[in-house]
Amino acid sequence: MTAAAIDRRALPPPPGRHGIARRLSDIILRRRGLLLACLLIPPLLWLGIIYLGALFTLLAHSLFSIDEFAGTIIYQPTLKTFGELLRPANLDIVLRTVGLATVVTLLAAVIGFPVAWYAARYARGRAKALFYLAVMMPLWSSYLVKLYAWKLLLAKEGAIGWVAARLGLGGVIDAWLSLPLVGGPSLSVSYTGMVLVFLYLWLPFMILPIQAALERVPASMLEASSDLGARPGQTFRTVVLPLAMPGVVAGAIFTFSLTLGDYIVPQVIGTSALVLGQAVYMQQGVAGNLPLAAAFAVVPIVVMVIFLTVAKRVGAFDAV
């Protein structure tokens, strides 16, 4: 755009010095604080009232308890409901969910890193655009469709079983499923299936921030490392990985948080053992125990606040 063209667009007919727009404009511009307030207040009101308000209502409910006989909420602050979280059955749910989220996050980082590294450093021009789309597409395609695709794949008569049988690997799957913890009656009713689906769902959320972080690593730095005699592996460990860390942490925020709060995947695929999300859903719906549901929901909040605080320290937000 040439300067002349900009002039024409930025310069409508000479404005009347005393028009209402002009006067309003003068007021806004003279006081920067007023302009800031105009910009900031609507979103702040929305998020402050609707979102924070709801969040505090939730927190407040976790401090109430339920009358076991009448099933009504006793509106008196108590830590009793939080105490209930420590019951073995409930604690199990919390620990299982956090463990699951950790495994999913670590695997996502391991699988996502090569994709991000390739896209950031080696893909050029058309290939780069293709890579970007290849990651964006699954990121934005429907969550339920993706889950549904895995139900098709993991089903006993489904594609994975068929391919395994053709390759003579049916025994391998059976052996894996007979293992404790990771196994189960079938792939679609096991932790293995659940982890696979979570991985699949969140992988793009891991790749994009890592790629963003890696794109800021100058190639000259890698050349310098190589010139100074570092082997590729050394360069990776001492230069690339530390610089990519903010991206990895940013990606981990998404994958961890998303796994922590999901109750749909475990409902469709996975074992009968509950995860946190299911516990929240059941307590508020079927059981009608709103305080306990709220207390369960506070767990991911606490976990994520800790996570975000640590993430901020390592500068993860600059990479998002």
Partner: protein, 275 residues
């Protein structure tokens, strides 16, 4: 330059890296292909692979189903209104945070990302509890309220990235030439950020169109398309019809993504960013 000619070229990817990247991409795309295949299967009751035969009849069956049309209609309406709300609020926030340094800036940024940084179940559960306390009955609007809340950040992210690249001297020039705040906004800022806003809007639309966890908490009797699909997943009635709907959803999300990509791709060429 490299001193050791035997060492591999650092600008070429090694084979393991290529394999790793290829595996990752394949892992992300193969399952979607199966959905498309299954939409044409003649097998009605199981997920048998390979499909015994192929047919187009399920597309016709799905087209006739009133429950699917209703769910689709509701989803589109919710997404449209949530997107408009998010566009307004997200853009305002981006305007404030990209140009001003003020007290409390960091907490505001955190507040913006919180609805997506915290698990969906927290947002859903919080809204449901609040609606209960405030005695607000579940309706179309409670769904919109929830969706708009987490869509704001998507618009914000797109808008703030573009605004930061927008050369401030353009705005100063407009002011120097006598443009008032509104003229500067409509003739300088808006044209330069329009594509980013459009992209943000489309992504917000896609996000709302697909949202299920928050919706299960904020919807009463209505079902959006994802809720409809979830019901089919838990208690399948006519599997091939679900497959067809899944394919339609893939197409419906693919197009906005592609459009958003092309709109932001030229984003480096913001006017005045050359210098």
């Amino acid at each position: 330059m490299r001193s050791d000619p035997k060492r591999s070229d650092p600008n070429r990817a090694s084979l393991p890296l290529k394999l790793g990247a290829g595996f990752g991409i394949l892992f992300m795309h193969l399952p979607l292909g199966f959905i498309i295949l299954y939409a044409f299967t003649t097998e009605e009751r199981s997920y048998a692979f390979p499909p015994p035969g192929l047919t187009l009849k399920w597309f016709a069956v799905a087209w006739e189903r009133q429950d699917i049309r209703d769910a689709l209609g509701l989803s589109l309406q919710v997404a449209a209104i949530a997107t408009v709300a998010a566009l307004v609020l997200g853009t305002l926030a981006a305007g404030a945070l990209s140009r001003f340094r003020f007290f409390g800036r960091e907490p505001v940024t955190l507040l913006l990302i919180l609805p997506i940084a915290l698990p969906g179940i927290v947002t859903g559960m919080a809204l449901r509890t609040a609606f209960g306390v405030a005695d607000i009955p579940f309706s179309f609007w409670t769904i919109v309220l929830g969706h708009a809340t987490f869509c704001i950040v998507v618009v914000y992210n797109n808008a703030v990235a573009r605004l930061r690249r927008l050369n401030p001297s353009l705005i100063e020039a407009s002011m120097d030439l006598g443009g008032n705040a509104f003229q500067t906004f409509f003739h300088v800022i808006l044209p330069n950020t329009a594509t980013a806003l459009l992209a943000g809007g489309m992504l917000a639309f896609a996000l709302s169109f697909d949202e299920v966890i928050v919706t299960t908490f904020t919807a009463g009797q209505q079902s959006t398309l994802p809720i409809w699909m979830l019901q089919e997943l838990v208690r399948p009635r006519q599997r091939p019809v679900t497959n067809v709907v899944a394919v339609l959803v893939i197409i419906a999300t693919f197009l906005p993504i592609l459009a958003a990509y092309y709109l932001t791709r030229g984003g480096e060429a913001v006017e005045g960013s050359g210098k």
